[in-house]
């Protein structure tokens, strides 16, 4: 508890009113006149009294004392004293309020959520604004959003707090900290306050330029939620559906998991999960067409977070993988031909505008696209100044693979040792692999004098570059080659969602293949609608999906597709706070801060006390008056 401070300190000037009060009191005091024979004795008595206790008259004069107390209380009330419930906000202070999904969890029986508590805490800071202090409000989940500019207008700030709603997104601190950092360049910011439940990634890729005060709100109750949902094709028209259930408490929580296919219940399982033991449920679904699945978790009253109880997943219509392979790449055609459900187009010119996989010996794809592109014996044009390729005699030279990235998707289970290559790649003078990385390329296979295979990601597309021609190596004759081709096919199927598909978390909808250059209207689960145009290739991308639920896509009022999202965040479902955030150079503890309440105003207490003293004074005056009269 701190000492009271005053909002209106200038009110202390009113203490000068004590002077006229005392003067007027003694001037206006109505004393009963008593005639006595002589003042001789009384004069000496009074003189003696004044000498011995000059202030006695003040002390003994109860009426004056009451009046002085009354005036004192009134002046103190006028000065608007208050007991600060927390530190005063006297500087420019960005306040970052966590609005992630876990902030929706209920913290008490009244139904208050963590976000409600956080907003109360932020309101306390706003109430504590003093002097030149200004606050800027930010909300964040997976991204950041500025709610207000730096302002000391408490009404604007309070209105900004009212705008804060819980999102269905996982929390990520980096972006909003960068926003705060950008704002700190426009105002002298020394400290940033983050009000969160601590349900954050413990590693934050950000270099703190200011002091970070992380205030953790109270933790809520237990939670059970779906943290993962995926499907894997187990047959031509059969899918295995995997649903992972996680809990936030040490004791297992029970619930029922239901699976709906296009609104029809097709499976139900009792589930239980705790922090230590998640449960994974597998359903089998047969479908020969596109299907919309919904996993719904039903938990009792103990579930404090409801938005992680449903996940939507769209199963694509089964079809073979469309693979375009250059006509001269016989080895690739042969290896891919043995894979099931693969349609290979090895014609001179492409027969379709879009494929799932393109394996080409030229960088010119002739106007077709695919999410997975494999270039054989091609050096990207933008790397021609860094890498050179020359033919060598295999018999006279020993060009071998030195190392490769075994975890790369394409090179899994591929053993490349002892593969001989008839072309030699070399870095230009002074060039290193770092130069390649700076241009967006990652080296997957290292040769003795230069890179042999590169990978580049371009949005949803991935390009793989074999800088040497595989046909000028012993690779096609190794067991590793069909495995490599199989990996390529799997990558293509995965990209095309033909073999595996995972439910999409909130944020944006997964890319959809629609008709080219058309306008679609997307209606969200909360009733909101948005209009998005498809690309020239028929891709519908970047559709925002902030809320968990089903999104219907309309083309001229006709429902053409439905997709759904889920929270799907192990971190959010766990509701577990991190104790420490690791930044680039420092670590910040996420201590649970005491609730910052509003300042305790004392003026009304003082005013009430003054009223009581007024009554007391009135009673005393009346009593004294009665005695004198008697």
């Amino acid at each position: 508890m701190s000492f009271p401070t005053f909002t209106f300190v200038q009110g202390a000037w009113f203490f000068l009113a004590f002077i006229p009060l005392v003067v007027l009191y003694f001037l206006k005091l109505k004393r009963p006149r008593v005639e006595i024979p002589s003042l001789a004795l009384w004069q000496s008595v009074v003189n003696d009294q004044r000498v011995n206790s000059p202030f006695q008259r003040f002390k003994r004069n109860l009426l004056l004392l009451l009046q002085m107390i009354l005036l004192l209380l009134l002046i103190l009330a006028l000065m608007q004293p208050f007991i600060s419930a927390g530190p005063e906000t006297t500087d420019y202070l960005p306040v970052l309020v966590d609005c992630s999904a876990s902030m929706s969890s209920v913290v008490d029986e009244t139904g208050r959520t963590r976000l409600d508590v956080a907003i109360e805490q932020a309101q306390g800071m706003i109430d504590n604004l003093r002097g030149e202090g200004k606050i800027a409000l930010f909300s964040f989940a997976s991204g950041g959003r500025r709610i207000t500019e730096f302002t000391d207008n408490k009404r604007i700030l309070s209105r900004g707090l009212e705008q804060m709603k819980p999102t269905h997104r996982a929390s990520k601190l980096d972006e909003v900290l960068r926003m705060a950092d950008a704002y700190s360049r426009t105002a002298p910011v020394e400290k940033v306050v983050v009000i969160t439940d601590g349900n954050l990634n413990d590693r934050v890729d950000f270099e703190l330029p200011f002091e970070l005060d992380i205030q953790r709100v109270a933790e809520g109750g237990d939670n059970l939620g779906i943290t993962e949902m995926s499907a894997r094709r187990s047959g031509p028209q059969t899918w295995d559906i995997f649903v992972r259930i996680s809990g936030s408490s040490e004791d297992p929580l029970l619930g029922d998991l239901k699976l709906f296919q296009d609104g029809r219940l097709i499976g139900k399982e009792a589930v239980s999960a705790s922090t230590e033991d998640a449960e994974r449920i597998v359903f089998s679904v047969d479908t020969d067409k596109e299907a919309l699945l919904q996993a719904l978790l039903e938990v009792g009253e103990k579930d404090s977070l409801s938005i992680d109880n449903q996940v939507w997943l769209t199963l694509p219509k089964p079809r073979p993988l469309r693979c375009r392979i250059s006509p001269e790449l016989y080895s690739w055609q042969h290896a891919a031909g043995v894979q099931s459900d693969v349609d290979i187009d090895a014609a001179k010119d492409p027969t379709a505008p879009e494929y799932d996989v393109i394996i080409s010996d030229s960088e010119d794809l002739k106007g077709v696209t695919a999410p997975v592109n494999v270039y054989n014996g091609v050096v990207p044009d933008d790397l021609s100044d860094l890498i050179s390729v020359t033919d060598v005699d295999v018999a006279s030279s020993d060009i071998q693979i030195v190392d490769w990235t075994r975890t790369a998707h394409l090179l899994r289970h591929v053993r490349l040792r002892d593969v001989q290559i008839g072309q030699q790649t070399a870095y230009a003078e002074g060039a290193t692999s770092q130069d390649l990385e700076e241009r967006g390329y990652e080296v997957l296979i290292h040769g003795a004098s230069g890179p042999l295979m590169l990978q580049r990601r371009r949005g949803l597309e991935t390009d793989y570059y074999f800088l040497f021609n595989t046909d000028r190596s012993t690779l096609p004759y190794r067991i590793a080659f069909p495995i490599l081709v199989s990996n390529v096919i799997q990558a293509g199927m995965s990209q095309a969602s033909l073999s595996e598909i995972s439910a999409s978390p909130t944020g944006v909808l997964p890319p959809l293949n629609m008709e080219a250059d058309r306008q679609y209207k997307i209606t969200g689960p909360d009733g909101s609608s948005d209009t998005v145009n498809s690309t020239s290739t028929g891709r519908l991308t970047g559709v925002p999906a902030a809320t968990v639920g089903k999104y219907d896509i309309y083309d001229d009022g006709e429902l053409v597709a439905s997709v759904g999202t889920g929270l799907l965040s192990q971190l959010e479902t766990s509701l577990a706070p991190v104790e420490e955030l690791k930044f680039t150079e420092v670590e910040v503890r996420t201590d649970t801060a005491e609730m910052v309440e509003s300042d305790l105003d004392l003026w009304w207490s003082l005013a009430f006390a003054a009223f009581l003293f007024l009554l007391l004074e009135w009673w005393y005056f009346q009593r004294m008056k009665t005695e004198v009269t008697a």
């Binding site: 006149r33 008593v34 003042l39 004069q43 003696d48 003994r60």
Partner: protein
């Protein structure tokens, strides 16, 4: 002398008067005038009270030779008798306004009459000086002696009114401007004055007067019952004094009153006098026949 059926004076009853007539003042020292009176002087005189013998000296009155002694011792001795001289009784009555509270002046007039009667019946020269500021009223009864003077004394005191703001010290000085003669000065006052009485007392003493101070206070002065804030108004001067929470000052007031009384006592005693403080609520009988009698002021 007093007739029980006819009231001689409104100041007191005949029965009290009868008792007063049998009383005499009892001065501590015999300060007398040389003129004959009924007070026995310490020196030799011609009264019937034997005092001493001394050798005969030429020129002595032969009538005072003790012939019985001469017959036995063959030497003449003169018989000496106590000399009876006249004593002044000066009664100073404080008749200022302050004495007009609670029968203080009445009690002073009664006592003055009583002392005066005692003096007159004892062949003393009695004079009364009353200090007041009443226009045209008598303020002095000149010295006189003898029983016939009693009527004048009573008449003077019966008609004595009060008023004014003459303090007691000024009253004493005024008295001494008119009075000549040794004896007793009886001061009947409340002695509530802002000034010091030492000078006045010295003047009385140096004038051959034994100072008897009798302080007459009202009960409201001896034990005031006051509470709260009030404004005191001096009855004589009209001056005011604001008192805050008088109840808490009563203790201090009593201390000052005691100290004032002790001072007066000391001033009288140091001048071979007497001092007593009485309440105006006490009856005359209580004062005369009890208080003053026990203190030796009067003899019965």
């Amino acid at each position: 002398m007093a007739d029980s059926k006819t009231q001689l004076t409104p100041l007191f009853s005949n029965s009290i008067l009868n008792r007063i007539e049998r009383m005499r003042l009892s001065p501590l020292r015999r300060l007398t005038n040389r003129s004959r009176g009924e007070h026995l002087a310490g020196k030799g005189g011609s009264s019937t009270d034997f005092a001493d013998y001394r050798d005969y000296a030429a020129g002595d009155d032969m009538r005072y030779v003790d012939w019985n002694i001469f017959a036995r011792l063959r030497r003449p001795y003169i018989k000496q008798f106590l000399h009876e001289e006249e004593m002044h009784v000066v009664i100073v009555v404080d008749a200022s306004t302050s004495m007009m509270f609670d029968d203080k002046l009445l009690r002073a007039r009664q006592l003055a009459a009583a002392f005066g009667i005692m003096g007159l019946l004892n062949v003393e020269r009695v004079s009364v000086y009353a200090q007041h500021q009443q226009e045209g009223a008598a303020w002095m009864l000149p010295p006189g002696s003898g029983r016939p003077r009693i009527q004048q004394l009573l008449s003077f005191l019966e008609n004595l009114g009060g008023g004014g703001s003459i303090p007691i010290e000024q009253a004493i000085q005024t008295t001494l401007r008119f009075h000549r003669g040794r004896g007793i000065a009886i001061l009947l006052s409340d002695f509530l004055t802002f000034s010091d009485l030492t000078r006045s007392m010295n003047m009385l003493f140096s004038s051959g007067l034994e100072v008897w101070g009798l302080q007459i206070l009202a009960d409201s002065e001896i034990s005031p019952s006051l509470e709260g804030d009030m404004r005191f108004v001096d009855s004589e001067t009209g001056e005011t004094l604001d008192i805050t929470n008088a109840g808490e000052l009563l203790g201090l007031y009593q201390q000052h009153r005691d100290w004032h009384e002790d001072t007066l006592h000391q001033q009288c005693r140091s001048r071979n006098g007497r001092f007593a403080s009485i309440s105006s609520s006490q009856t005359l009988e209580q004062i005369l026949f009890d208080v003053l009698s026990r203190k030796g002021w009067v003899l019965r």
